[in-house]
Amino acid sequence: MKLWALSKKEAQDILGNKIYLLVVLVQVFIILGAFGLAVASSVVSDPALLDQYGITSNIKVGMTQDLQGSQLAQDLEAQKLKLVYYNSTQQANQFLGGQLAAVVTISPPGEVQVQLDNANVFYQVASTKVRKAVNNFQTRRILHYSGLTSEKIKAIQEPVTLKEVPVAENEKVEIALESAYFVEIMYGFIMPFILLLPFFLASNIVTDSIVGERERKTFEILLMVPLSSTMVVLGKIIPILAFSLIQSVAWILLLDLLQVPIFNTLLMVAVLFSMGLGFIGVGILISILVDSTKEANSAITLVLVFATFILFVPLFIKSGMFQGVFNFIPTVLMVKIASTPVIGLEIMLYLLPTIVISILVFLVTVRSFKHERAIRL
């Protein structure tokens, strides 16, 4: 009852904070923006997707006039590249780096010369496609003289074939983009980033909670209320933790809508809960320890930079030495949990440190709230 009253009041304070509500809204744009960026960059670096969306025709390759209609030109066109013809190699080279992604010519002795513009947005795709076309051209030219059977030629041109057999196709999970890069960037970075965003925000908001009351001189009456420190700290944590979790769950639903399905939602919420407890606990701890809201803001910024480092760097680093430690990093666990439909029970073991640390943070917060230092009036 007492706790409920305190929580209700804190919740009203949070909801009355227009800036907080604004930032909550801004998150939606961040999510949509990050999603769009992930889609765009996946498409740009994936030849198959570029073909699918008909963007390949924007990659222009320069050739000399005399190669028009040649076998090489046909091979390049087979890769859906757009060919532009010039009178001379020099003339074509002038446009390289501008509108041309590559210039392909054949030198008098019959050597194929390829010049690629490294700075082009589509460099990777252009490079792959041009190389493929030139390879096909070369192979055909050699085999032309070999006198092998057409079956052998095919085997030589494509010595390894791959057949894909879908398993459980009727339970297929739809993904916004069928691209490895997209899946990696979405699950491996954007998903944990988005879901933790509300907690970053929360720890920022919550730094105001104690030091703000002290500055506004309302703290003394709060201290006079017959509530134990644990209750007061809980009363401050519960509302913001609830709001943040609601946001996180909303973003999970939004990701599902965007066809980035999040698996094991309940376990995810549990992970988010304990991380949230940690984040918010640290925010309140800072609020207890500092002298002014200004100081609190600087302190939480530092902490969040540090947290970002700890939580997000392991997602990008492949390190045999640290891999064992990385397995315990909650963001790494989030990636595992969210992207795997069937998760093993050993994940609980890996979650243990996260839970223990969160609870420790909470206990330290309660403890330092009791401490007189927190009560400098």
């Binding site: 007492k2 409920w4 009253a5 009041k9 309302t218």
Partner: protein
């Protein structure tokens, strides 16, 4: 009065903040239903003592028992017995008056059914019924102080502590606040910290003089006043003051002391009957005569100056 039960018992209380000794072996008993005034200069340790009693601060040494509960063992119990009006009772600005009281009533665990009647009663007491639905941030300092008092009383505490309740208020509002306190007198045990001696004089059963963390003196206002001077101070302005006048006046048996302040004689007398012999000494040279009763101000100044 001594037969009454002791409500608050302060024993050997010491507290220091770094090098500053805020309280130095403070001992004090406050009886049930008593209104004790605490006066003392800034930094005397008044607020520290109160905060320890309210279990906001921890003492270095000593104990306070409120209604038998020790601050070391039952802080929550004590907190629900005490109603405290801090020196700067800033209230949550965005609340409406009624909601603020309701919020604190819930925090103090007042039974739900009792909350609304209790709030109505309190709003009536502090004369805020007509502003019940207005927000705190629209209130003047005086209104806020009234809300602060209502808030302190929301859980019907047995002990009420006021820290400078009339500081910075206009005389009319101050008087109103004093009236509230007067109304509460009797069934509640109260502590009143103040800088205003007339306030302590007007309201308190006993007054404790606190200085440098110690009680310098304690007693009824009359007792304290009687300790420094006689009953009457006579202020006389004369034409052409002479040393012989002073000798003659001090020779009078009822005269307790004489000072010359700005060309005026300030003479302390045991009783009013002694006025005419003094005037007789000075004869026709007297220009003006004033009498003045000693106040707690005089007590305060003379004690602190010692």
């Amino acid at each position: 009065m001594s037969s009454r039960q002791v409500m608050i018992n302060i024993e050997g209380l010491s507290k220091s903040f770094g090098k500053i000794q805020a309280l130095d072996n403070l001992n004090l008993d406050i009886k049930k239903g008593e209104l004790l005034g605490i006066i003392g200069p800034n930094g005397a340790g008044k607020t520290t003592a109160i905060r320890i009693a309210c279990c906001i601060l921890q003492p270095d040494q000593g104990d306070i028992r409120v209604d038998g509960y020790s601050i070391h063992h039952d802080p929550l119990k004590i907190k629900s017995i005490i109603g405290y009006l801090p020196e700067e009772p800033n209230l949550y600005e965005r609340f409406k008056a009624r909601d603020l009281l309701k919020y604190f009533a819930e925090l103090y665990g007042v039974p739900t059914a009792d909350i609304n009647p209790r709030i109505d009663e309190l709003l009536e007491l502090v004369g805020m019924t007509h502003r019940a639905e207005d927000r705190i941030n629209t209130f003047s300092k005086g209104l806020r102080q009234r809300m602060g008092i209502a808030r302190a009383l929301v859980h019907d505490p047995d002990v009420i502590i006021f820290d400078e309740p009339t500081m910075g208020l206009d005389p009319a509002t101050s008087q109103k606040i004093r009236n509230f306190i007067h109304q509460l007198k009797g069934d509640k045990t109260m502590i009143l910290c103040t800088h205003y001696m007339d306030e302590a004089d007007q309201l308190c059963d006993r007054v404790a003089l606190l200085d440098q963390g110690r009680i310098r003196d304690i007693g009824t206002p009359d007792y304290l006043k009687s300790k420094i001077h006689g009953d009457v101070i006579l202020q006389i302005q004369v034409q052409d003051p002479q040393q012989s006048d002073q000798d003659a006046i001090t020779a009078l048996p009822s005269v307790e002391g004489l000072e010359v302040v700005g060309g005026k004689y300030h003479i302390s007398l045991k009783s009013r009957e002694e006025i005419s012999p003094v005037i007789d000494v000075l004869g026709r040279r007297v220009i003006s005569v004033n009498t003045k009763e000693p106040t707690l101000d005089d007590v305060f100044i003379s004690t602190v100056e010692d």
